[in-house]
Structure formats: C-alpha cells, structure tokens
C-alpha cells in the first residue's frame, strides 16, 4: 500500500503538462538519434545527456525515460529496415525482422517490436515497482564486505560471460580499471596518475569514454574497414498486424519479458543472453518453424516479438541493481548512473529514503515513457525512416559534431576533446580485434567503488582479510563468482556454446 501511495505521488509529479512535454521531447530526440545506423541506446543517452543538464530533476528524469525508450525503439527500427543493429542485443531483431521486411512485412515487424517493447516495458516496470523497494531494504543490511563481493561478481560476469574470449573481456576490464584509477583517491586524497595534468585530477568522465569508444571509434573503424555497401532499404508497409500476428506475438512478448527481467536484474549485465535465449525459446515453441531464418523462411514474427520484449524487460530489469545498489551492469546503465550523479542523486539503498519522491517520479515516468513511445513513434515511424536517407558523409559528420558538443559541453575543456580522439583510436583497435566495449565502461565506474568498499571492509575487520570468507553472504557471492569464472571454459571444452552463432 505504501508503494501505491508513493507511486501515486510520483505519477502526480510526472503527469504535469510541462513534464509530459519534456517526455515527448526526450522521446523525439531519442528516436531521432537512436534510429541512425550504428548508434545504440548507450551512445544515444550519452550524446543527449548534456541537453538535460539544466532542466529541473523531475523534468530531466522524464525526458531521460523518453530518450531511453526512444533510443531503444530507434535501434529496432534500423535493425528491421536496414539490418544494421546498433548493439549486439538487437542482432536477433535484425535477423528475423529484416527477413520479414525483405518479404514485404516491415510494418508488422515494426509494430510487434514497438507494442512488444511497450508491453514488456510496462510489466517489467511493474516488477521493478514491486521488487526494488524490497531489494533496497535488503541492501541496507549489506556491509562493505558484501558490496565488495557483489562488485567483484559484476566485474566478472560482465567481462567473462559475454563475448567470444574471456581473456579479451578481461583485457577490456583492465583498461576500464586503469581509466578508473586516474584522479583523486577518495580515501587518502592522493592524486593518482594525473601526471601533473590538472584536467585529470577530477578523473575521466564516463560519457567521454563512451562517446569516444562508440561514436569516434565507430566512425574511424567504418572508414578503415567497412566497405560502403549498397544497403537495401525496405519500403515501409502498413503497420497493421493481422489476427494471426497478434496470436503469435502476445505469448512471445510475455515469455520474452519473463526471460528478460530476471537476467537484467541480477548483476550479470547485458541484454545479449536473454535476447538469444528468448529467440531460441520461440524457435522451439513455434508452430511455424518454417518461417524462421534458419529454415530459409520469410521471417517469423515471434522471433521479433520475443527478443524485443526480452531486450526491453532486461533493460528495465537492470534498473534494479542500479537504483537499489548503485551498481551499473551494462554500458547504458553506466551512462544512466552518470546522469543520476548529474542531478546530485547517488543511487543505492539510501536513495529510496533520501530521494524517494524522485525515485517514484522516475518509476512513474517509465510507465508514461512506454505509452509516449507507442503513441508518438508508431505514427511517426515514416519520419524516422526518412532520417536514414541522409547521405553517409553528412550522417557521420553530424554524429561527430554532436559527440564533440556533448563532450565539450560537460567541462568546457579542449583536453577532453583530445582525450576523446585518443579513446576513439583505442576503440578502433578494440573493435578490430573483437575486444568487448561494455567491460571498459563498467570497469571504470566499478573499480573505484570496489576499492572503497574493500578499504571499508578491512577497516571494520581491522585489517583481517578473512572477513570475506567468514561472512556468509560475502563468501557465497565470491563463491558464485568463482563458478562464473570456471563454467564457461568448462562448457566450451565440452563443445557447448553460450551463444548461437549464425
């Protein structure tokens, strides 16, 4: 009951006309940027972050929810119409959705993606509403030792479980940890690795790293290694879904949500596993296996509906560890954390007590954002598709100009722009040799947190390292970490793959 009344207050704040307007603007901008090929939600949110800087926190949060949902929908649109997924979790959407588009069914593919995202987003937000306060209460009992254990688990899962090579995941994590080291040490006050460069004392902004790796790195990489393909654009057909489409989509949406939310809410990071899992589930359960890409079919609508729902549900699920523990488990969540800190909000168990109004406004705005997305984007999808007709030079030049404005706008420092360029080149090398990017972003944020918690834990135990073994919760989380480290190589050795390769 307490939740309901808090939520009602949140809705009252979020539904004010001016805030709704911010939501619409956010949704428009998020879709406009997110629809551009090669740009995923993390980058969209990073690029648009400075825009929200001077809006009051409530309005900004609503705008943010709009940007976030808009970016996700924009990504699905490009995947379906152009077959250029902006991030790995929309790869499955591209697989079946683009096949549908090639067979003249782009409209229903887009519709099932949009409605499915809305359904999944709403159910996941409902689960978030119910679970987050419980987790937050639980998390209040966690001491530094438990936090440290959870952080180590998050590091490990984000870098070891995803991607083709655990070693390269760890290399990316290492780079992230190194970046996180730069700046003032919060405990001793010593400036570490600043090499007398004043700009480095405050550390390096996560948005800068994300924009460098994603936008600049991607632009340079595509120039160096990607041939300009004559991308076939598919005509937009009627968005109308047939009765049969609905019958096949609805169960897939629900299953996708149930698969996506739990994966998002544990600190395992990434929407890759749940989307692939949902896809293979749909393929096994489908009464129309002949439609799937693997059987050279015409594209199966449940193969779009399920993974899209899973993707959205897991994105919402990742807000659970973010809001209750302050731990981001994906690149997008890491950028969101930076956004919260912009508004002087420190996510964590205390957030529900110190800024409960804002938290519930955010939750309410997630519900509203879902609806805004549906009423705004589905009718406007033709407009977003037109954006794709911008010639490649102008598209990329525009993205780079936006990246520059975003990074420069944060601190007004030319040094940051040089750093962005350097990180862009690091991004090219990483992309070239298949180093995952998310561990860099997550590592640079979680590294300093882990160090702080480790120090606190050892202060409490008076320097006794056994505290991590003798305290049951911390010990079991660390044991789980060990399992996560050992299982993938074991599975691999036995010839079992976690990913479906095509």
């Amino acid at each position: 009951m307490e939740i309901l009344s808090s939520l009602a207050v949140g809705f009252a704040a979020a539904l004010q006309p001016i805030n709704l307007l911010w939501g619409f603007i956010g949704c428009l901008l998020g879709s406009a940027i997110g629809v551009l090929p090669g740009i995923g939600p993390a980058l969209t949110v990073a690029l648009l972050l400075p825009i929200t800087a001077k809006v009051d926190p409530t309005g900004a949060l609503i705008m943010f929810a709009g940007i976030y949902y808009g970016a996700q929908f924009g990504g699905s649109t490009t995947s379906i119409l152009l077959n250029t997924p902006g991030e790995s979790s929309s790869m499955v959407t591209a697989l079946e959705g683009n096949l549908m588009a090639r067979n003249g069914r782009a409209g229903p593919a887009l519709a099932t993606a949009a409605i499915g995202s809305c359904v999944a987003g709403t159910i996941a937000t409902l689960l978030l509403t119910l679970f987050a306060p419980v987790v937050a209460t639980l998390a209040l009992k966690f001491g530094p030792a438990e936090y440290f254990a959870i952080l180590v688990l998050s590091f490990t899962t984000v870098s070891a479980v995803l991607g083709a090579s655990m070693l390269r995941g760890f290399a990316s994590l290492g780079v992230g940890l190194v970046i996180g080291l730069i700046g003032l040490d919060s405990t001793s006050g010593i400036a570490r690795y600043t090499w007398e460069v004043p700009e480095l004392v405050d550390g390096i902004e996560v948005v800068l790293v994300a924009v460098g790796l994603f936008a600049v790195g991607e632009a340079l990489y595509s120039l160096l290694y990607q041939k300009e393909e004559a991308v076939r654009r598919h005509r937009l057909t009627s968005l109308w879904m047939t009765r049969d489409d609905w019958k096949r989509s609805v169960p897939a949406w629900l299953r996708g949500t149930m698969i996506g939310f739990p994966f998002g809410s544990i600190p395992a990071g990434g929407a890759e596993i749940p989307t692939f899992l949902s896809y293979s589930t749909e393929r096994k359960l489908s009464k129309h296996p002949q439609d799937f890409a693997a059987s050279k079919g015409e594209g199966a609508i449940e193969g779009v509906a399920g993974p899209e729902a899973a993707n959205n549900a897991s994105a919402t699920g990742s807000l659970v560890p973010l809001l209750t523990l302050g731990i981001p488990t994906s690149a997008t969540a890491a950028i969101l954390l930076a956004a919260f800190q912009n508004y002087n909000l420190q996510p964590g168990p205390m957030l529900f007590q110190t800024s409960s109004d804002l938290v519930w406004t955010l939750v309410a705005s997630l519900y509203i954002g879902n609806v805004i997305l549906l009423v705004l984007n589905l009718p406007l999808v033709g407009l977003w598709v037109k954006l794709l007709q911008i010639p490649r030079p102008y598209l990329n030049a525009g993205i780079l100009v936006f990246a520059t404005i975003g990074v420069y706008g944060m601190r007004h420092s030319s040094f940051d722009l040089l750093l962005m360029l350097a990180i862009g080149w690091v991004g090219v090398v990483m992309r070239r040799f298949d180093f995952p990017v998310a561990p860099v972003i997550v590592g640079m944020l979680l590294g300093p947190m882990a160090e702080k918690q480790l120090r606190n834990a050892l202060s409490i135990s008076q320097g006794d390292w056994m505290v991590f073994v003798t305290q049951p919760i911390a010990a079991s989380i660390l044991a789980l970490t060990l399992v996560v480290l050992v299982i993938p190589p074991l599975l691999h050795a036995r010839g079992i793959k976690l990913h479906e390769d095509d």
Binding site: A53, I190, Y193, I405, Y408, H412, F433
Partner: protein, 164 residues
C-alpha cells in the same frame, strides 16, 4: 583445431602495450607520496593489483599473438583483412578534423570550429564539396548553439570570437 603457427605483430603490439601500461601503473604507484596517520589499505595497494592484473592479461595476449593469433576471432580471415582503399585517408581527415576542433574551439569559436569538423569529417566519408559542407556544418551548429545557450543555459564558447 590446429592453426598455422605465426606471429601476428599488430596483436602482439596490443599485448605489449598492456604490459607497458602495467609497468607505468606500478612505477606511478611506487612514486605516490607517503600517507599520514592510520592507514588500513594504502592508496598504492589497489593500483598495484590492477597493474598485476593488466600485466597478466597483456602477457597472455602476447602469448596468443606469438602462437598463432588471438583465439576465437569472429572472422577467421580477419587477421589477413586489411584496410579498404582510401580508408586511411578518410580516417586521417576525421582525425585532423577532431584534432582541429580540440585545438581551435577556444580560438575561433564554437560555430566555426564545429563547422570545420563537419566539413573535414564529410570529406573523410567521401564528400567532395568542401564549401557546401562547411555551409551545412555551420547551418547545423548555429541552431544547436542557440538551443544550448539560450534554451538550456549550457554555455558554449562564443559563437565566433569577437576579434575575428
């Protein structure tokens, strides 16, 4: 799966740079000023740990690079893949544009610097009409400038510097 044993130099360079970074971290940690008072875990402990971690990863990557290349790369012919024709020139244009905007933004002002970046990047991606590109770039950045400065109160540097 037996692979022909070969050394992939670019990959070896990635591995050795990580080892190098590890060395720099350790050297830096060694030079931290001493801490005062009661210290439970010194400011250099975690950096040393990160240095050790990065060093190990660098060694393993180098080992893979020497013994046939990184494992499980997505395209198996990727090692042989080279840059596409004109790719390097394009990347150079973009790099110079970004370098230029970093060095010039506080000198010639926001709109001109961003306009130049736009023109350089468009050139990098194959456009051959510099004057038109510059005009489009400026036309694009002007409204952004107004939006940020007037609408949102985020101050960007001057439109163009007054003394130009």
């Amino acid at each position: 799966m037996p692979r022909p044993s070969k050394v992939v130099l670019t990959q070896l360079a990635v591995g050795t740079s990580l080892i190098l970074i590890s060395g720099v971290l350790a050297y830096g940690a060694f030079r931290f000023p001493p801490e005062m008072g009661f210290v439970i875990l010194s400011a250099y402990v975690y950096p040393y740990a990160v240095a050790a971690f990065v060093g190990c990863v660098g060694l393993l990557l180098s080992y893979q690079a020497i013994t046939g290349g990184l494992r499980n790369l997505p395209d198996h012919d990727d090692v042989a893949a080279t840059t596409i024709p004109g790719g390097k020139a394009g990347a150079a244009w973009v790099t110079v544009g970004l370098l230029g905007v970093a060095l010039l933004i506080e000198v010639i002002g926001f709109v001109l610097a961003a306009g130049l970046l736009f023109a350089f990047s468009a050139r990098g991606f194959g456009s051959r009409r510099p004057v038109r590109d510059l005009a489009i770039g400026i036309a694009l950045t002007l409204p952004i400038y107004w939006l940020f400065n007037a609408g949102l109160g985020v101050s960007l540097p001057h439109l163009i510097n007054v003394w130009i």
